[in-house]
Symmetry: C2
Subunit: 308 residues, 2 copies
Amino acid sequence: MEKMLVFGHKNPDTDAICSAIAFSELKKAEGAQVEPVRLGEVNSETAFVLAEAGIEAPRLVETVANEVNTVCLVDHNEAQQSADDIAKVTVHSVVDHHRIANFETADPLYYRAEPVGCTATILVKLFHEKEIAIPKVTAQLMVSAIISDTLLFKSPTCTEEDKKAAAELARIADLDLEAYGMKMLRAGADVSTKTVAELLLDAKEFDMGGAKVEIAQINVVDENDVLSRMEEVEPVITKTVADKGLDLYLFVVTNILTNDSIGIAYGEKTQAVEQAYNVTLTDHKAPLLGVVSRKKQVVPVLTEIFTK
Amino acid sequence: MEKMLVFGHKNPDTDAICSAIAFSELKKAEGAQVEPVRLGEVNSETAFVLAEAGIEAPRLVETVANEVNTVCLVDHNEAQQSADDIAKVTVHSVVDHHRIANFETADPLYYRAEPVGCTATILVKLFHEKEIAIPKVTAQLMVSAIISDTLLFKSPTCTEEDKKAAAELARIADLDLEAYGMKMLRAGADVSTKTVAELLLDAKEFDMGGAKVEIAQINVVDENDVLSRMEEVEPVITKTVADKGLDLYLFVVTNILTNDSIGIAYGEKTQAVEQAYNVTLTDHKAPLLGVVSRKKQVVPVLTEIFTK
C-alpha cells in the first residue's frame, strides 16, 4: 500500500499532534507506510509534551496532495479545519470525537467516532482491538492528549472511558497523572511569553446554518493575563472577521483553575452569544460560568441559535 | 435513557432490515430501550429471510420525530436516504459501510463505518468488542444480510472480513452457506410476481456534485424477465425523473448467475453512464460487464464523472 499522511486539524492542539503520532504508530504496526504531519505551529503545551517525551514535532505541511493520494484524519473531519487541498486526496480513515459536518467522500472508508473527551481514548481501544501493545512513549503522548482535552478530567466532555484510558496509559508511561497533568496544563496556560497570534492560535472555523463562525480558545491561570492585552488582540480579531467575512468571532478565555471562561465576541452576530448564554456583552466581553468545552458547551449551543 | 428507533435506509434491502434488528439486539443487551423499524416495504428476498428466521418484519414508519428524539442509523447516513424528518432528531449512532455524504450533526456521536461488504459484518465486531453473544436467530439474519450484500461473496465489495464474519454466523445459525444463500438469492431474484414498483424498489438517491441521481438495482436470474417489461417500467422511471427533477435515473439489472448487469438510463445526463463505462446506450440500455455493486462500481464512478 502506498504511503499515507496522518494529521489532525489546523491550529493543532495536543490531541491533534499526539493522536496523529499514535495513529501512525498503530498503522505502522499493521504494516502500513505512514507519516504523521501537522497543519500548523506547535503550541506551548504541546511543545512541553513533546519535550517531556523526548521526541520531535511531526513535520509541518501546508498541502498534502503534492505528496500523497491518500490521508488519514485524526481529531477532526470538517474540511475547513483540514488541509487546504483535502478535496484532492482520498480519506482512508478518520478517528475523531467531534460532530460530523462538511465532510463527504466518494467511497466507503473507515470512520471511527465516539462521543468521548479525546481522540486518544478511541485510539486506546483500537490498539486493544488490533491486539497491538502501546509503546511507552506513545502512551505518554496519548495520556497528554487526554489531559489536554479534558482539562485533567474537569471538562464536561470527559467520560468514564477517558478516565479509564488515561489511567491505563499513565501506568504504561509510568506517570503521576495529577502532578504531570498540572505541570503540563500550566505550561500551556503560561501566556506571558505568547504573541497575540499565539493567544489566538487554537481557533477553529465552523459553518452554522450558513453563518461563518470562528471560535478561538486559550487556557490561562489568570484571565487578566489576556484581558490586559485586548488592545493588541482586538485589531487582530477584527481583521480576521473582515478578511474571512465571519459573522461571529468568539474568543473563549478559559481559567483552568476555576473552570470558568470569559467570552470575547466580535462580528455582526455577537447577539448569538448573548442569546446562547443569556448574558450581556459589555465591551465585547461576558463571563461564561462553568464553560470550558468548545465542543460541548460552545459549538452545539451556538449552532442551535444559528439554525433556529 | 429514553427510547430510540433504529433503522436502515428507505427502500430497505436485507442488510437495512436485518442490521436494524441486530443492532437493536446489541443495544438492548447493553440496557438501552430501542425498537427496530423500517422506512419502506420489505422486498421478496428479505421476506424470505424473515420467514426462514420465523420473525415478523419491523414496524413500518414514515417519520420518526413524532415518536422519539433520538435515533440510530444502520446501513446508511445520507439524509435523502433516511427518514423524511431526520433533521428533526438527534442521531445517536451510525453503523454503516457506505461513503459519507450529506450527513451533518450538531453534536459528537458514535459513528462506525468500515469499508466492508455489509453492515452486519461490522456488527459482528461490535458484538465481540462488547462481549455480547450473538443470538442464533440474530446470527441467521446477519448472515443473510452478508449473503445479500455480497451476492454470496461474489461482489467486489466482499472482503475477507465479510467471509470470516459469515462463516462464524453460519456456525451459530447452523446454516449451510451455499445452499441457504442460493435459495435466498433466488427468492429475491424471482421477479415474475413483482409489480413494476417492486422491480424499482431498491432505489437510492444521490447528490453527485450538484446532480440529482437515482440508482435502482434488482437481482435477476435472467435479465429478460425485466427487459421484456420495459414498456411498463419506462413510464414509471420517466415520471420519477420528472417528479423529482432528476438529472439521471440508472436502473441496474444484475444477473446473480453471470455477475454482469444491464444499465438502463433515463434523464438529461444519461451521457454520464456512457462516459463512466465507455459504452453506448441503445434504446436507453447498455451492458455493464462485471458490474454487480452499486456502491463500489456505480456510485463512485458516476460521482467522479459528475464532479469532474
